[in-house]
């Protein structure tokens, strides 16, 4: 799986399942957490969506801006775990 596919898959999942704005396009480098686009109650949801889509786990202590804040950064984490 290449990076753009990962970004596209998780981006559309966030729009439809978390933000409930299907069709909204989130830019690769748009801040997700620090901007408040994803609120703290939805962080767990994000981890569960990633697990469903890619079978890799984002740990709870990783759900913060220090670990990732954009689709670009999140997809790097996902890819590194898929390839492990």
């Amino acid at each position: 799986m290449d990076k753009s596919t990962v970004i596209q898959l998780i981006g559309s999942k966030i729009s439809s399942e978390i933000l409930k704005i299907p069709g909204k396009v989130i830019a690769d480098k748009e801040p997700l957490i620090s901007s408040g686009l994803i609120d703290s109650f939805s962080l767990v949801d994000l981890a569960l969506q990633v697990e469903d889509l890619f079978g890799v786990r984002i740990e709870d202590f990783e759900l913060n801006v220090d670990t990732f804040d954009t689709l670009d950064q999140l997809s790097d984490i996902i890819l590194s775990r898929i390839n492990q």
């Binding site: 409930k20 957490i33 620090s34 901007s35 408040g36 686009l37 994803i38 609120d39 703290s40 109650f41 939805s42 962080l43 767990v44 949801d45 569960l48 697990e51 709870d60 202590f61 759900l63 913060n64 801006v65």
Partner: protein, 559 residues
């Protein structure tokens, strides 16, 4: 007469080595705190306050993250006889400028003479040194280095009288921070006496909590009550819990927790957002009550929770409810302790049209109302209509309360205090009805939004939206809409915009979302941009929130 300091000291004298608090933080070993350690750690803070010239009866604002410092500083302020007030912590999402503005309004109104914070935050606060009554900004790291003191009964806090103010409670946001609920030692003790009886609090209980301490359910039920009554408490960080809600159940299993308070949304959240893998070996059979409180209780939320967790030993009899508010210290009613929570099945149409809760008959659409229970001892409830007349049972009206644990005042806000009282009764602004002496909550008279148990004032959101370019100033409305799936309210915003090309609309929407989240830490569910004159105004030219909510429901929500 006892006060907080003397009660804490008595526990220390009688049971110095009793572990009263187990403090959890993700990635760290649990800290087990005895009364001796608690009072010794707190004494350093008390000493630092008194050395800084901060007197009994003066307000101390505490800005610290979950941890030992927060606990020591709270009781240290009490031991000094000063009045602690916890300010929510600045999170990465909040805009610093907005936070500063809120902090400013808190400081202007409550006139603290001391602020306790951590080193990194010091510069953020230095501005208050010059232009306020603040005598000193105290740094927790420095205080912790202080020398160990001899613990005796010489702390200034021992001379506080029962009717002196012991603490302030605030809800969040610019509006909430301007109304500090001032409570006396006696009011808190009265509440603890009535409420511990209502929930049959006993020595074998263990309370487990993830709630923040700046919230009444966290501060009173899940912090002060256990420490002051000698019931062990397991306390985790709200920050950790929201990212890993299974931690609560792990803590309950490990410590054999018997009691836990949760806002309604947490039932849905825990039922849906926890992996089975994370629940391995979880055992909830020790729980004798989880108490649903601080936002409207839903039957469906209880059902979801029970269905998911009965296989982990959770008992249906442990589902309980409570109606509470900071202005009454905490609880007003409680249900589900000696009997199952009453579910009142009422006729939907009669309720909506006539505002009367008639038991439903077959073939009619019905509504399942969850009881909050009967008033706890020394608490009374009245239901009144818009003209202030008392209503009979099953008639919907505003809930008024009277008790021996009410607020003394909104601190230094005589105007707000007077407005909230009617002949000694506190006007809650909540709507409900009584049936067989039990209270059912159905909504609010005042325009308050509750998201995940947290109070959000719509005027704070509307003010922020007015600053977005392209939005007509003063032409925006925010309101809450209950989301069955989440078990809490969604926030909806409607804003009138200047005629623009449609491609700008998406930008305005994004900007509104961003600004609102940065100022209130809440994500908006729906931002609706409308043309000029869409919003309904009252005869006095104010935007009518409830009328616009009705219009939104009619035009945008199916059924």
């Amino acid at each position: 007469m006892p006060n907080f300091s003397s009660v804490l000291y008595d526990h220390y004298k009688k049971f110095p080595d009793k572990i009263i608090l187990h403090l959890q933080k993700a990635g760290n070993e649990d800290i087990h705190l005895s009364y001796k350690e608690l009072i010794e750690g707190s004494a350093k803070y008390s000493n630092a306050l008194s050395s800084s010239g901060i007197n009994p009866g003066e307000v101390v604002v505490i800005i610290l993250q979950h941890g030992l410092d927060l606990i020591y500083s709270y009781f240290g302020t009490i031991l000094n006889g000063s009045i602690p007030s916890i300010m929510p912590f600045l999170t990465e999402k909040l805009l610093p400028e907005k936070y500063r503005k809120d902090l400013n309004s808190l400081i202007e109104i409550t006139k603290p003479t001391g602020i306790i914070t951590f080193n990194e935050f010091q510069t953020e606060l230095s501005q208050f040194n010059d232009r306020s009554l603040v005598k000193k900004i105290l740094i927790s790291e420095e205080i912790n280095q202080g020398k160990q003191l001899v613990i005796d009964s010489n702390f200034s806090g021992f001379s506080r009288k029962p009717d002196d103010i012991v603490l302030l409670q605030h809800s969040s946001g610019t509006t909430g921070l301007q109304k500090g609920v001032a409570l006396t030692h006696q009011a808190v003790f009265n509440q603890l006496e009535s409420y511990s009886k209502a929930i049959r609090l006993a020595d074998k209980d263990i309370i487990v909590s993830w709630l923040p301490l700046y919230h009444d359910m966290g501060l009173i039920a899940s912090f002060l009550m256990p420490v002051l009554t000698g019931i062990p408490l397991v306390l985790m960080s709200p920050f950790d819990w929201v990212r890993a809600p299974h931690r609560l159940f792990r803590a309950i299993s490990e410590y054999k927790g018997t009691l836990s308070w949760l806002p309604n949304f947490a039932y849905n959240f825990c039922a849906e957002k926890i992996r089975n893998d994370d629940l391995e070996e979880v055992d909830l059979s020790s729980l004798r009550a989880i108490i649903n409180c601080s936002e409207p209780m839903r039957f469906s939320s209880h059902e979801m929770f029970l269905e998911r967790y009965s296989r982990y030993g959770f008992k249906a009899s442990a589902l309980t409810t409570c109606y509470a508010m900071a202005e009454n210290v905490f609880a007003v009613t409680q249900d589900g302790i000696d009997k199952p929570v009453t579910i009142d099945v009422i006729d939907l149409e009669d309720f909506q049209k006539e505002k009367i809760a008639r038991p439903s008959s077959e073939g009619r659409q019905s509504l399942k109302m969850v009881s909050g229970g009967k008033p706890i001892a020394e608490n009374k409830i009245r239901i009144i209509d818009e003209n202030g007349r008392d209503l009979p049972e099953r008639h919907l009206g505003e809930i008024l309360i009277h008790s021996n644990c009410m607020l003394s005042e909104y601190y230094l806000r005589n105007d707000e205090t007077q407005q909230s009282l009617m002949d000694g009764w506190f006007k809650t602004g909540d709507l409900g009805y009584l049936a067989n002496g039990e209270l059912y909550i159905s909504g609010r008279k005042k325009d308050l939004i509750i998201v995940g148990g947290k109070n959000i004032y719509p005027q704070d959101i509307e003010a922020v939206i007015g600053e977005v370019e392209g939005v007509h100033p003063g032409r925006a409305v925010a309101f809450g809409l209950f989301n069955e799936e989440k078990g809490t309210e969604d926030v909806i915003v409607i804003a009138e915009i200047e005629a623009l090309e449609t491609d700008k609309e998406a930008l305005i929407c994004d900007e509104i979302r961003r600004k609102v989240t940065q100022s209130t830490a809440v994500a908006l569910h729906h931002v609706l941009l409308v043309d000029e004159k869409w919003l309904i105004k009252t005869s006095s030219g104010k935007i009518a929130r409830s009328a616009n909510k009705e219009k939104y429901l009619l035009e945008y929500v199916p059924n």
